[in-house]
């Protein structure tokens, strides 16, 4: 796709950063399940967090298209690292949209500068795709709130300083009875479960975050009481564009690795790239990468134009995630046995791809959204 000078600069800069700083570390981070703290510091120094956050709040002040470009290029380096960028983007977007000036001043800067680590807490044991099933509850207590509940599979939970928590504030009001709280994770009553050991994106620290009668001051409430569900959902479009772009980055990395391997690997006296069976796999990989990229960028540009992007974002996330899983698998096929061995990039890409069909709304849920739009 033809990009403006500024978007091309963003792409070039991020690609270079990913090649020099992220990609060389990906194998180790995956093997050790290590938090990429030093990389996040460097990303912060180079303005790679808070892409769409206005400059006045310390962000880069770019548009959603630029955000999708950054996510793709970071993920081409390592998807786990891109995921952190996506997470910070959600906090920034949420705070800019719904925060008071005091909340913005307190949280946006430190999160963008990677001085604080945030966690985005929706999922519970009984509430995955069906967010309305959450049981975490906040009750009024003097001027503030008391928060109790347990959140599951929360990115950054083992290392978080601050949590954005969706909780019930009016048990009778269903979706209209939920609110979002900004919770200091060092407060009494906040406990963490152990870090989960995952199939892929193993550098992302994911675990349980428990709240037992945690005191939250009045200014810990984000936005309007009772509008939490709506607020969480309102930033999901950007989240889905981000995960779609992350999936594109995985396909792109798989494609590049596959081309190099196909030229290098000799069998029957020929480079395997000379076999049409391999060429067709490469061609399919390239066209899926491009199709997914265009869906993602089209959704991003709709958001930038202020249009309804719900269906476009769901299509982009769903297509890109499915394509990433299929094409990472094809990349393993091109590598043959090597592709199944730890230490080869495509082996990791294959594992990293799977979660893109699950988080930020499963791909079944994306299809539900698309179909609902079609039939309304």
């Amino acid at each position: 796709m033809f990009l403006s000078t500024e978007h091309q600069q963003v792409a070039d800069m991020t690609r270079r950063f990913a090649d020099q700083v992220i990609r060389p570390e990906a194998e180790r981070l995956d093997r050790e399940e290590a938090f990429a703290g030093e990389i996040y510091q460097q990303m912060a120094q180079n303005g790679l967090f808070g892409i769409t956050v206005p400059e006045a709040y310390g962000g880069a002040g770019l548009d959603c298209l630029a955000y999708s470009i950054v996510m793709e290029e970071l993920s081409r380096g390592y998807a786990s690292v891109a995921d952190q960028c996506g997470l910070v983007e959600l906090f920034g977007t949420m705070l800019c949209k719904y925060g008071t000036e005091a909340q913005k001043a307190q949280w946006i800067g430190p999160l963008i500068r990677a001085e604080l680590r945030g966690a985005y807490c929706i999922t519970e044991a009984g509430a995955g795709s069906d967010v309305s099933g959450i049981k975490t509850t906040a009750t009024k207590d003097g001027g503030g709130w008391k928060l109790t509940g347990s959140k599951l599979w929360i990115h950054n939970a083992p290392v978080a300083d601050v949590a954005f928590v969706l909780a019930r504030t009016d048990p009778q009001a269903g979706k209209r009875g939920m609110s979002i709280f900004i919770v200091d994770c060092n407060k009494a009553g906040v406990t963490r479960g152990p870090k989960e050991h995952k199939l892929g994106q193993r550098s992302s620290q994911v675990g349980e975050l428990n709240f037992d009668n945690v005191a939250v001051p009045a200014d810990g409430l984000l936005g309007v009481e009772g509008r939490g569900f709506h607020m969480m959902m309102s930033v999901l479009e950007k989240g889905r564009v981000g995960i779609g772009a992350l999936a594109v980055g995985i396909i792109q990395a798989a494609l590049e690795a596959s081309i190099a391997q196909a030229k290098l690997r000799q069998q029957f006296g020929h480079a395997i790239a000379e076999f049409q069976a391999i060429q067709f796999l490469l061609a399919d990989m390239a066209k899926d990468a491009e199709a997914a990229r265009l869906l993602v960028r089209s959704a991003a540009m709709k958001m930038d134009a202020g249009l309804d992007a719900a269906m476009a974002a769901s299509m982009a996330k769903c297509f890109a995630g499915d394509a990433a899983v299929a094409q990472a698998s094809n990349a393993v096929q091109i590598f043959g046995g090597s592709g199944f061995i730890r230490g080869y990039e495509v082996e990791r890409l294959y594992r990293d791809a799977k979660i893109t069909q699950i988080y930020e709304g499963t791909n079944q849920i994306q299809r539900v959204i698309i179909a609902r739009k079609l039939l309304e």
């Binding site: 000078t5 500024e6 600069q9 270079r16 180079n46 303005g47 962000g59 880069a60 002040g61 950054v70």
Partner: protein, 251 residues
Amino acid sequence: MKILVPVKRVVDYNVKVRVKTDGSDVDIASAKMSMNPFDEIAIEEAVRLKEAGVASEVIAVSAGVAACQDTLRTALALGADRAILIETEVEMQPLSVAKLLAAICAKELPQLVLCGKQAIDDDASQTGQMLAALMHWPQATFASKVAVGEGARQALVTREVDGGQETVDVLLPAVVTTDLRLNEPRYATLPNIMKAKRKQLDRVTPDELGVDITPRLKTLKVAEPPKRAAGVKVADVAELVEKLKSAGVIA
């Protein structure tokens, strides 16, 4: 002190160029273009001198087609204060570029011109030297260290030479060309890419500068380097010596 940094738009260093079928030139029609890496080092050095309070202004200048403004925007994102595009469709040769830069120097009166030691497309390594000659300024080429003296009247420049390193003391204004080891360029941060959009970029033409840029050189033929023949693996040193002997490389 003003620093002028010429930057060239070249084929990205990752691109494998191919020769056009008629042998007239390399085919860059759809190739990705970037700033010449040595010029990035020059920008970085200039920006560091500004950050250190030695320089007051860094001006990036590029000569060539309209798309060179992308290269200038990158220079601005890396920290240059303003940019000048000398716009022309005419094929640029080192002497033309040096004359254009001399015209800019006469207007802007920089104390220092920092440019790449060569461009990675034609590897001529002539422009900086020609500019110094045209301006009757001292030159210090292939710099790996630049230390500007008190009051910006002279500079100590360490040069990468065959035998090792040589340090020269040049009076300013001067032309310094940058070698790889001078510094490691920073990334254009995202906020700075945004800020670069708002920085001043002026356009002039060679005509307006009164410079004749008619090409003086004619390219006769461009050819790919000969393909390297496949090598052979030897089992041990004895076999290697044997092979070298039979190839007549050693006696």
